[in-house]
Symmetry: D4
């Protein structure tokens, strides 16, 4: 349950729009809410961590995704589901008419929040094929309240393309570097800036790429300091962490 | 070359203490300085990235470490060398009398800086055997200008030990979670806080630990969002990144 | 051949319902029975190990599964086939009308046994996507004569969900902990209880999860003592072992 | 803090031998006790899990091991440290005169407990080189209150050696099967008995054994049901789990 | 070109049925024959190694398989193609009407040879799902001139099934042991006999089986001497080697 | 932008056919050209490296491939797209009518260049199934201006096939050796010649081939000196490097 | 207990040199003999498999090796211990004065057998560094009753060295091919002969050799048929299998 | 036997300084020469491939290295031994007084050749710790007749250091790029030049570097075209290949 929703509830109670009993009822599952037998929604997460539980659609049935999405939407202004395949979206989209689907990033989201976006996050990719992962990162950061600068296809095979974006790199407060194959983009960017870099290896490539292992290992072994790495293709995780850092910066550590 | 050193140089020139020619001479290698044939010191790094080049002693000869350390010390207030084995320290220590050696963390450092430390970083470990890596992280953050809270031996086998430190966890602005074996500490901490977590897998363990692979994979696959991972046993990298984030928070993104 | 079936046979002989010759004929394949050329049913297994041979449907042709299922059903009250895909069930279901299919767990089973279920087994999962594996475990334990408590979606990203189930955890005599990704659930549960824990890593996840390797290694390297691990996604194996242990406990080691 | 020790404390209070204040003082660190900065002893563990925290000496300094061992010995009748190398023992042995060192198993232990041992555990090995790991398992189970039957060097290359021990196998309530190389021993034993089997892969072998990987994978993929696996060379973990199961059996699930 | 075919050619020349010119023409490609640009048939192989080149259909286009099969059939009495999928057979079968397809083993073969089969080869499997690989081995040995004894589904989970076949095992001159999962069958058989054993790991299994790696490593690390291993699922290679050994035995080393 | 195109532009300006303004306009994106948001074409690459950017179609959408292909075709005489699947070609072929598709090599190319081809490159394969990768190498070298000798299906199982091609091997200035399975072809060829050999491991094989790992490792560990290796199935990379070397040889190092 | 020893016993009984009681006593441990607690000697092995149990010294204590060696020597004419390091031999050599130590092969052996050696085995190596493994194979075959032809340092980097030994290759009845690095020797030899080839990958090499993995995978994936593989550096296993095959050939399958 | 040596021999015969018989004697082992039983020197290699056989000292005994070195020195002007440890050199150095030892590169060499060096090869490293491997490459190329430009410590963490060397990069005809950790140096260099690049991954690093795997995979998956890779730490192989290419360039493909 997001803080904004709880604030509204208290305001409504004070204004007499909502009765105390009804308010209590709404708070009842604050800790967590069991859905049938298959899920325990961690409603307290939004308060504790700043953003409601996110749905990883992969591995769940369409029915489960719909049920969880609806339950979250009852108590939060913002709901995010990741790894929603086109097939799944075709099936569940009509049941979630308020939600927006981003097909490249495979993200389904609902954003009723009206707070202004915080600037400072930049997402870069080595190539065109890395964009789906980058978009997952960017959309995640956006729904979490941030404005995202995108700098795509600036891989090291033509390093002047990256150097020409130096101004944007220097301005960013947090950078998400997305790259497959040898993943060198993250090292080169980190060497140029004084901001933290979150590296996302992608599974783009073939052969001894081993589904992203080459980029993952390269990023973990970077000779440039000031970088950390998330799972292969985990654009969501990188966007989430970037948003947390950028909010801390914005709020002076609060 | 650290900004503080350059500022002092300009002040000295303005005060007439240093001549323009001498100042230029001192700046000559600002970009980088070649040492014999074996190294090119990136003196610009301190300006560009906020901290001078750090020496990874492992893989270098003792002579090389001494030479680089001395060259860095000429132009910076702070010099850091990591992975300095006890054997190497026995050999090079006498040649670097100003430097302090931390045997557990295998870190050799020189810190003439006088700026006050920034609070906000917490370093936690799963077990006692993870402490050397944690100390490398803590000392790195300290020489970079931060105050570090240490919470050691709070692994998940007795989770009340971790929960009892909840206040400290909530207060921290950046957390470094150091753990070997199954590395679950990082996930559990991340699930409790709204601050970014940098996870450091350690090689502590045996058998199918595969020198840290188990903790590395566990951390990369965490179900808790808001965490990123550095290389196995890379306390230095985690401390460095934590320091960068904490400085950004302190300075409001500058 | 289950002990109960053999007992019934002797009872029938004593009661004169079955002739000695006919009884001998029925016992003839007690050791094992060859089916065409493709299988040797280990009918003695039920006597020796307490439960008849179980059919791993994956890798067998539908015809083979049907033949083996029928042969086992001739001599046992309980027959279990695992990893029966929906496609295979569509083909063989009509030929095995007595059997029940559980689509999530991909289990096909026949249970004519009437003995009361033994309480004491608890099956927990980290997430919703782990439920199919958990159900395979639970159904296996159930057909083997046990009552199963299910506690699903209590992963460590929101650890209060797990702690809220502490009573059930303490009551259980054997616990099956099912989790993918970083598999931390098993460590945390093991640290809380004095009962044996059987950990089941699942292939839930992506990227450096490497089809379950991350959870497998994490569980093998747990810092919590009192846990052992089965193969990735092997809910059946965990349920089987839990049932063996629980029966030993119930029977005082017999 | 073991239950027996707490019972004694209450008895002493009732008998007036110990004052209430002194008793409270002794209980003060019941939850956990911080030792300097390097460890937090989980004294509650003995109550919660039935046995005090065990010291994994590997990765700790000799001083740390001594300090922790002494602290545990103050509040418990039984203290166990594993992976104590001969070198470490030479250094710390004199400071822990009460403790007994088992060089083959690399185990250092103190056992003041007087309760009778529970029968039911059998430890088997494939070869002679597996004995150190097996002894770690056996000694762990023994200090935890059990009697252990040892059946060593019964590997499958001469299967009559194993079959000749069939009586002992049938009598055991829990079996620990220790084997390196192809680890087939565990499968063969499991196929013969109705008791749970805990399989311990060892690093015995060379080449494509990959330090125990061959036995580990073989055991995880056993076609025999009723077995689970611990980490490579983790005799301690197997002995611990066997003891937990055997105690549950002895106590009827309590 | 098989020796029998060349012998017939000389006989025909001596009998005047074939002219010298025509005979020379037929021998022209004895060394190898290029087919278009895509293959160089090693016709000398039959003379040099005792059996004509075998077609690995996987990775070739259907047209290529047909062309090579036909070319081989022109000069040899026996032609063998392995890994011919059902789809490919549907396409090429009509063009090779003389050939026989074995769907389980995915083998397409033509055998005009009339020499009597040599006894001595036994093929065993651990389970029913291993039979396709075993049949590939058996059919390969058969077309190479041997009689094959099949002993299927005798895995170690019910070891009396294997022991009951001891007579056949002792009689065999060469044994092919086919098993997936933990692959223990090969070790147990090797420990019982004085004949060479060729072990074939199969990809039967799931999870940490890693597509046959578990059985492969187990077999390579067998504690039983007198066994060697072929590639995962390589029934063909095992049958081929068994045939070579059995022929050497039959011919006293010739 | 290829040098030949720029020369033509200058010639046109000198001839008055093109105005200065128009020429400048054409050069404007010389460094790189952004296409929508998804790509930054490195037009300078042709000048810097001798050949325009190449499109790796895999991982891009059909629309992206078409757009990039067209943009490149505007400024270059030669355009190459690799890993264009038959499905993608069916979709994009009609939009790129000038381009030629090679289905085996999955290559789509446009070649308006008229310069004569440089001889000296030889491409060899171990088997028929390696030909698609070899053709990718050969076509790449051809569009880059070279004549390619093909020697296919000369694997080491019948080494006389390779030895019979010795003259061609000795004549070649650069050799591309393409092989799957154990990849021994590259070692044997390298041992015979004094020319550089570029080894391409292919994913041809099965089982412990691990999608090309066996050939990759074999080639990296060759005992023959004078060979280097590219990624698994990377015919394009090998053809590209061969072309660079051969051009250097032709031009005396220019 | 070797057959020859048992025959001698019966002869002695018939000759009245040995009493029946004494003979029975000697046979008492025919099945197996327990040594203290650490070993169960499989004395029946010599009868069942043709050669007594062999001692793998690695992983055993010097005392254990001495005890087992002596016990075997009491009942057999031939005793073999492998992987006896120089250090171990220095310690145990004096206690086994009859035994001969081969330092390169790390083999300790006792051979009182007088039967003539059977010709037919050839052992080849790729390089000089493979010789220790090859010698282990050769010495094993020799003590098992065979004459061994050695052809060393004939690797594929200079293939004429191998081809010059063609006569020896054609004459051999069984070939052991020992090679590290890319292990191509085994494939090339297998392609040249009609005899079975046992391939031994060695750990010779460095880097991506991964302690023998490159040669192991190469050999498992050989495109040449008629080869099987043993563990990395397992010269003993190859020599043992070669001896079994050669004896079968010599004895016409007996 | 190097061509220069053979030429000298013919000159001596023509001049009457050497008799025909003596000349024939010297040529007798032209093909190869057996040394005792442990090596077959491929003397023809120098003629066939342009440089005599090189000794990989690792894995050979000191005696073997001395013998082979001396035999090669009898017939060649240049002899090279690689991976000669300091320990081995201490032992064999005095027996090879003409040879020069380079301790960093672990190379022992003898160079009596007087032909002028060919310019064109550049060797670069990412860091100081990569220099030993780079020196092995440089020294190899030098003894093979080339002049080598060294550019060390120009890794991507401070990319201006590399860009400042652009002139040297552009001038080189062949580049050897040596780097550990994430190995990004090779990609960045390749993207800048039109010359072939040979990438050498080093084992410099720790943790998930896995002894050079990270750099190896990164280099194999480079997005920059025109690069190929040699084994981890294989400076020798890279220098050898660079020399072959540079000689081809110098000689116009001869």
């Amino acid at each position: 349950m997001e803080e904004s929703v709880i604030r509204r509830l208290f305001d409504d109670v004070r204004a007499g729009v909502v009765s105390t009993d009804s308010a209590i009822e709404q708070l009842k599952n604050l800790s967590f809410e069991a859905i049938d037998d298959f899920a325990r929604l961690d409603h307290q997460r939004a308060l504790r961590r700043g953003f409601p539980e996110v749905i990883l659609a992969q591995g769940k049935t369409p029915e489960q995704v719909v049920r969880i999405f609806q339950k979250l939407a009852e108590r939060n202004d913002r709901v995010l589901a990741t790894r929603v395949s086109a097939e799944m979206h075709a099936e569940i989209g009509p049941q979630l008419p308020e939600a927006t689907y981003h097909s490249l990033a495979r993200v389904l989201m609902l954003d009723r929040s009206i707070e202004p976006k915080i600037p400072g996050i930049l997402v870069a990719t080595g190539g065109t094929a890395d964009i789906p992962v980058a978009e997952e990162a960017a959309l995640t950061a956006e729904i979490m309240g941030h404005r995202v600068e995108r700098v795509y296809d600036v891989g090291v095979a033509g390093i002047h393309r990256l150097l020409s974006q130096n101004d944007k790199l220097q301005e960013a407060r947090v950078i998400v570097a997305v790259a497959g194959m040898e993943g060198a983009l993250a090292s080169v960017i980190t060497g140029l800036v004084s901001s933290p870099v979150i590296a996302v290896p992608t599974s783009v490539g073939y052969g001894s790429n081993f589904q992203g292992l080459s980029a993952l290992l390269a990023m973990l072994n970077s000779c440039a300091n000031g970088m950390a790495v998330v799972n292969i293709d985990n654009g969501f995780g990188a966007g989430y962490l970037a948003a947390m850092i950028n909010r801390k910066i914005e709020n002076g550590g609060k």
